[in-house]
């Protein structure tokens, strides 16, 4: 079987192409296209050379993947240099990109913290159930498990640009559910939470503030990422016509 038509070669090419698409994003379009086309030529020439030298398709695929892995640090420094050029050419646009990245990172950290909290409470519930401190399958435990699953779905949606609005909106629910029911459940399971509830006067206010804060944070993120609605020329003309009719 020829290397060019083998499945292993196509898998390797597909993986390296995906990596290339990732590190060429937000780089000058022409420079990125040059890198992609040059790599496409390299893959082809590699396959032809592998066929001529009697290399098996699997070995050729391994070589291609190995070259990509070994070159990854250089790819990243190249990307950094290219983005620096873009920044120096258009600082305003680059500032917007950096703000966008900062917002994405903050939302991901907050969502991970909510999910982490849910998993922590679930672990405590499982350990307590094993230790026969609580009965299995209580309504609170099921609620916490559902909200943790919802938080995991929200986090997955947040990872993709297209779905992150939905992810941010979904995260509002587990933010409420996991903090409220999680603390309620830990009240009976954790000595620390029990002691804090009794000794700290503003405990309830603090937990409610956290719920409201997280809810507002994820709602704000959804509004920030909400797709822009562009006014079409038809809309504008209709509006102008209406205003014209009103003034008459």
């Amino acid at each position: 079987m020829s290397v060019l038509t083998s499945t292993s070669y196509h898998h390797a090419v597909s993986r390296v192409s995906r990596w290339c698409s990732w590190y060429t994003r937000d780089v000058d379009v022409e420079v990125a296209a040059t890198r992609r086309d040059e790599l496409a030529s390299d893959f082809y020439e590699h396959a032809i050379w592998a066929d001529e030298s009697g290399t098996t398709p699997r070995a050729a695929a391994r070589e291609i993947l190995g070259r990509a892995v070994r070159g990854a640090p250089a790819d990243l420094t190249w990307r950094h240099a290219q983005r620096r050029k873009v920044a120096l050419a258009d600082p305003t646009r680059f500032r917007r990109l950096r703000i966008e990245e900062a917002v994405s990172s903050l939302v991901l950290v907050a969502a991970s913290a909510v999910l982490g909290w849910g998993l922590f409470v679930l672990t405590r519930i499982v350990l307590s159930t094993i230790g026969e401190q609580i009965r299995p399958g209580s309504a609170t435990a099921v609620t916490i498990a559902s909200f943790t699953a919802l938080a995991a779905c929200g986090l997955v949606l947040l990872l993709r640009r297209r779905t992150r609005v939905g992810g941010a909106l979904i995260m509002v629910l587990p933010s409420f559910g996991l903090v409220h029911f999680g603390l309620y459940q830990l009240y009976s399971l954790s000595t620390t939470v029990g002691a804090l509830t009794f000794t700290m006067p503003g405990w309830e206010l603090a937990s409610n503030s956290l719920i409201v804060g997280l809810g507002m944070f994820f709602t704000a993120a959804a509004i920030w990422w909400w797709p822009e609605h562009r006014t079409t020329p038809a809309d504008t003309s209709t509006r102008l016509k209406t205003i014209g009719e009103m003034t008459r």
Binding site: V31, S41, D42, E45, E63, G66, R67, R70, A87, R95
Partner: protein, 146 residues
Amino acid sequence: MRDDRVQVLAEVLIIGSYLPIVGRMARRRPGTLFPIEVDILESGLALQASEGSFYGFALAKHLSSRDGSALTSHGTLYKALSRMAESGILDASWEDPASAESEGRPRRRLYMVTAEGSRALVKAQAETPRTEASVPRIAQAGVTFA
């Protein structure tokens, strides 16, 4: 007026944010070549003498056959080639699409060592006597520092 000042301040902040990164990166003295660039120029001139020009994979094969090492990684090779083309020591152009199409393959990016590149190579070879023991083979490690 105020907007202009804000704009200038934003530019200074953004450019300034790069300074620590730039400071950490190994800087090249003007007119000097990295070891991989010397290798590329040597192999490139050899390929150019026989083929008229050279392209990425042909260069990787030639570099590998010279010392029996693995093929140069994609990142190291194409990063070095684009940097050398930008600095004028290589001349880069895309192959005529018709000739690539007639052979049923993707078009190649063709490189040629310029007169400036040849001069830089001669200077580098004169300045640093290249022995196997003294030259760090950065190309083999798959990392460059520029």
